[in-house]
Symmetry: C2
Subunit: 223 residues, 2 copies
DNA sequence: GTAAAGAATGACTACGAGTCAGTAAATAAA
DNA sequence: TTTATTTACTGACTCGTAGTCATTCTTTAC
């Protein structure tokens, strides 16, 4: 008897529909300005129903964000499992992140909005764990690529691969965040192009962690 | 007749008293959880009175944060106007920022909480400008130091000094933020000491922007 | 055809930011 | 000293919104 299964599916589907509505409203208004009433109206459901599927507004916000995380993760995973040189993979990871920023700016903002612990007072333990797991998956991909890099002798072996990952990732994130918020300001006040700044800093960091062998690979890619 | 002046002073004093109360509550609870009623009670004033001195809760939050900014700025200014080598000044700036993080963690968090534009919907134009001016002062100090570095030939002259400032500052900020929120996690899951990571990345970046002359200065300092 | 289970509803509660008519205190004018 | 005026303060109130829950509607089981 497939009734239970069908109901399961329908429930899942409804949950996604609600998330679609939530995403629309959150993208337009942001967490603070968006209201559950508006999300309910957009989903063509009553407010009470939303709470049958999500524990709180913040939980919903995180659920939307997780979609964004997964999209980025899939891209990283694709790069990781490709047959490229390690140096190329590292560069591709950076490119993917930068592209993600431009194509999915709203997701990017959400991810970094939620970086801040002051926000999640209302998040359920479940959702928090879900987020943690997803973040961990991401770091595992990065770790595995960098570990190969060290094993292959293209990355300096006096660093822990994850440590390098944190450095590269943090640097890039911080500058993308600035590009998002302060790009104009820097252009007007100091005549700085932050996109250029990001390129420079990524290049500096990458160069400084490569071995001679790695640098040779890098040079060969540029041809 | 000094009555007007005395009243002026008293008003300023009351404003500071309110800010003391606000700081206490914000430090304990954060922006979202703190309530105006609690701040009023702490200040031993009615809620209405708070609004005679500050336009909104967010404005008050920013006013507290500005205290923190000024404290950091004073330290930077002190270093900038000292008689040290440029390389030493740059290192001292980093040290000062790191110390600030440990000594004034609550201020640090506020500053970076407000980095996020999603928050200030309720901030008055006045306060926003005040913040901008203060931030600009900070960047002017950094710029002036780095500009000297280039003129003196200790920093590679193919970079814009402000650009270097943004890179160093962003890198450091991003890692301090991680130390604040994720230190344990990185230790437990990956056996990474983020404080060490910060040292490494700062060193890598610093080295990669120095000229040979600059590196010599750096080496002489280490002795 | 009817009982039971499941899904959805929307009026309601709780709570907090911000307001404003009214009160009290300080100063100026008479 | 008394009265008028300005200034400082108050707290009950409005308004908006997250989250709840008794009730209604729909689907499934027998």
């Amino acid at each position: 008897m497939g009734i239970v299964e069908r109901k399961e599916r329908e429930k899942e589907h409804r949950k996604e529909e609600i998330l679609d509505a939530a995403q629309k409203v959150f993208f337009e208004k942001g967490l603070a300005v968006a209201t559950m009433d508006e999300i309910a109206e957009t989903a063509e459901l009553s407010k009470g129903t939303l709470y049958l599927y999500y524990k709180s507004k913040e939980d919903m916000y995180l659920a939307v964000m997780m979609r964004g995380m997964e999209e980025l993760y899939d891209e990283f995973e694709r790069i990781s499992s490709s047959e490229l040189l390690t140096v190329e993979k590292i560069i591709k990871l950076g490119d993917a992140y930068r592209e993600y920023f431009y194509k999915h700016r709203k997701y990017f903002r959400m991810i970094h909005f939620l970086q801040n612990p002051q926000i999640h007072k209302q998040v359920s333990e479940e959702m928090r764990q879900h987020c943690d797991r997803e973040a961990q998956k991401m770091w595992n991909v990065i770790q595995s690529i960098l570990k190969h890099g060290i094993d292959d002798g293209v990355l300096r072996n006096n660093f822990n691969p994850i440590e390098l990952g944190v450095i590269l990732w943090s640097n890039m994130t911080a500058l993308l965040f600035r590009i998002d918020n302060e790009n104009m300001m820097w252009k007007e006040r100091f005549n700085i192009d932050l996109e250029h700044t990001l390129e420079i800093s990524s290049a500096l960091l990458l160069e400084s962690i490569l071995t001679d062998h790695g640098r040779a690979d890098l040079a060969s890619l540029k041809r």
